[in-house]
Symmetry: C2
DNA sequence: CCTACCGATCGGTAGG
DNA sequence: CCTACCGATCGGTAGG
């Protein structure tokens, strides 16, 4: 019985977080009110506080949920015995997949994190910086391996991450192109942009 | 005398708009208050309304200032007698230049436009859509000319635009890389990603 | 989970 | 350009 109540509470909280992610993406964190959120959940605003501590907690949950997935994935890929350029391709595929299957959370984590407050804000920025450094290290490795062009690795990481983060517009335009075709195009352009051409 | 007063007013308004762009970029449109803006301008909040009509007017001015420059540039480039891939490179150089020299306005126009209200919101979205269509048309032309790879043009435009819009992070990290080096890297990756390789 | 309500802050106006 | 102030809305709490 206690189990059931706990499960119910945690799933209720998960629903609230999911609705919050959707609202924060649509209106932005500041413009989305707790009354908006309450309406979308189907309760009064005051009732939300039986499941969550504050509006800001919702943003933490969203941002760190995404950040944790990113960290686990890059750790996994770092350990694989494949070429650096293949690791980059795997990361690109992962990010596209995240945009497709966790769109609202990833979008909010990417664009609204500045509204986090300070123990969390600093932590998030650190994780973000570390992730980019590790991504850049893979690219630098590929330059040494001669399967990636001698480019500035930091710039390459920013280009790749922001290019994929921009799928927003594609998502909104109601899939005029399939997920597979989109991924193939992105791989062609982004991997093609950094890979050493083995043949013409 | 009237001239002087008019000039003074218009430059005062320009200062307010510039400060607003800076604030909107830093905090986001909704989180930036007119009291914040007043403080950064050096007057009381009520005094701002002698120069502007509303907070929303500031956002119009910023967004449409940027949109107009974009439209004029693409018109200019369309008229040039160069290869499509060269037109794309010219547009990429233009966008990087905009990010470097009009950073606050371009950033705000790119990320905060959704807070425009409706006669302007619709107009802005239309201009945006048209700009992307014209950019994509240049790429499609390059595919026919065989100097651009057979990729989905719309996807390529989004990748390019969002990749450059992401210079944010570079800008914030205090230019560890020069503007010229950054531009060269972006051209290598983005143009290299879409151009047909003439030689290996 | 709701009703009732709080102090703070917002964009903006009146009047000088 | 300022003082004084407005109605609206915000995140959140008390108490049941």
């Amino acid at each position: 019985m206690a189990r059931i109540i706990i499960d119910k509470n945690s799933s209720r909280k998960e629903v609230i977080i999911a609705k919050a992610a959707s609202l924060f993406r649509e209106k932005g964190y500041k413009a989305a009110s707790m009354r908006d959120l309450a309406e979308s959940v189907g309760v009064e605003a005051a009732s939300l506080y039986n499941h969550i501590k504050s509006k800001t907690e919702l943003l933490h949950e969203i941002c760190f949920g995404v950040a944790n997935r990113f960290m686990h994935k890059i750790e996994e890929i770092e350990g694989e015995k494949i070429l650096a350029i293949e690791k980059v391709e795997a990361l690109i595929r992962f990010h596209i997949d995240e945009m497709i299957h966790h769109y609202e959370e990833v979008y909010v984590s990417d664009r609204e994190w500045k509204h986090l407050s300070d123990p969390y804000l600093l932590n998030f920025q650190n994780q973000r910086r570390m992730y980019r450094k590790r991504f850049a290290a893979i690219i630098e490795n590929g330059i040494l391996q001669k399967n990636i062009k001698p480019i500035d690795a930091t710039t390459a990481v920013l280009i790749i991450l922001h290019a994929i983060g921009g799928i927003e517009s594609w998502h909104r335009s109601r899939q005029k192109i399939s997920a597979e075709a989109l991924t193939a195009n992105m791989i062609t352009i982004l991997v093609g942009g950094i890979a050493v051409n083995v043949k013409v």
